[in-house]
Symmetry: C2
Subunit: 134 residues, 2 copies
């Protein structure tokens, strides 16, 4: 199978609140239709979708729990320097993200912090001096 | 802030088991170092990382639950046709994924199914006739 991740979907409790949160970062919805119950953002090679948690649970089918604030997945937004990480972290917080870990040097030689979005989805904001992932 | 998702990290309970699972799909670890406690896969524009759940919790810091099988995030692997979705779904299952929803027509006019990986992370396998995301 071709190695490809096409889309990440975040189950959210309030679609408008979450849309405003991500728009606050300066990200624009992709072909947004106000009538739609899903919002997409094009994040450089992969799409991020916001979708009501109940709708997502229904789409997946019964038996799968979709609970807020409990996850074993983190998303990372990389920046090109420590200063850029500090700025991006502050920008997340300025639009309502909860600070989880202040940006700091990591064991692996990078620099990163964590915030959570309105539903508790974790975003790492990181600088990795050993890669060009940004 | 530049709209960019750099990396997704899945917290896993058994790194080797999870690596074998994703390798089973024909995906090759990126610059894999057997001594490392993290495994990366390059998935077409975004990196997928597998990382021990305890390590991930430690990295995030205290107070954040990292529990298996409970999530409000889904990952999607898109294919170019219904037949390709059926094949990819079968391939996931053949390497040990748990079938969650058999591929079927969706309300939005696409075709999709869901499987879960060894830790319960949900993958949608989908064909979207209205987009070229694959």
């Amino acid at each position: 199978m071709k190695p490809k991740l096409s889309l990440i979907t975040l189950g959210v409790s309030d679609l408008e609140r979450s849309r405003h949160f991500y728009e606050g970062l300066g990200w624009s919805p992709y072909r947004w239709d106000p009538e739609s119950d899903v919002v997409f953002f094009e994040l450089g090679g992969v799409m991020l979708a916001l979708y009501g948690r109940d709708n997502l649970a229904k789409d997946i089918g019964s038996g799968v729990a979709i609970r807020p604030g409990v996850t074993s997945v983190t998303l990372a937004h990389n920046e090109a320097s420590q200063d850029d990480v500090d700025r991006a972290f502050a920008e997340f917080v300025s639009v309502g993200a909860t600070p989880v870990k202040t940006p700091q040097p990591t064991e692996w030689g990078g620099y990163s912090g964590y915030v959570s979005d309105p539903d508790g989805h974790l975003w790492e904001v990181a600088f990795n001096p050993f890669s060009d992932w940004t």
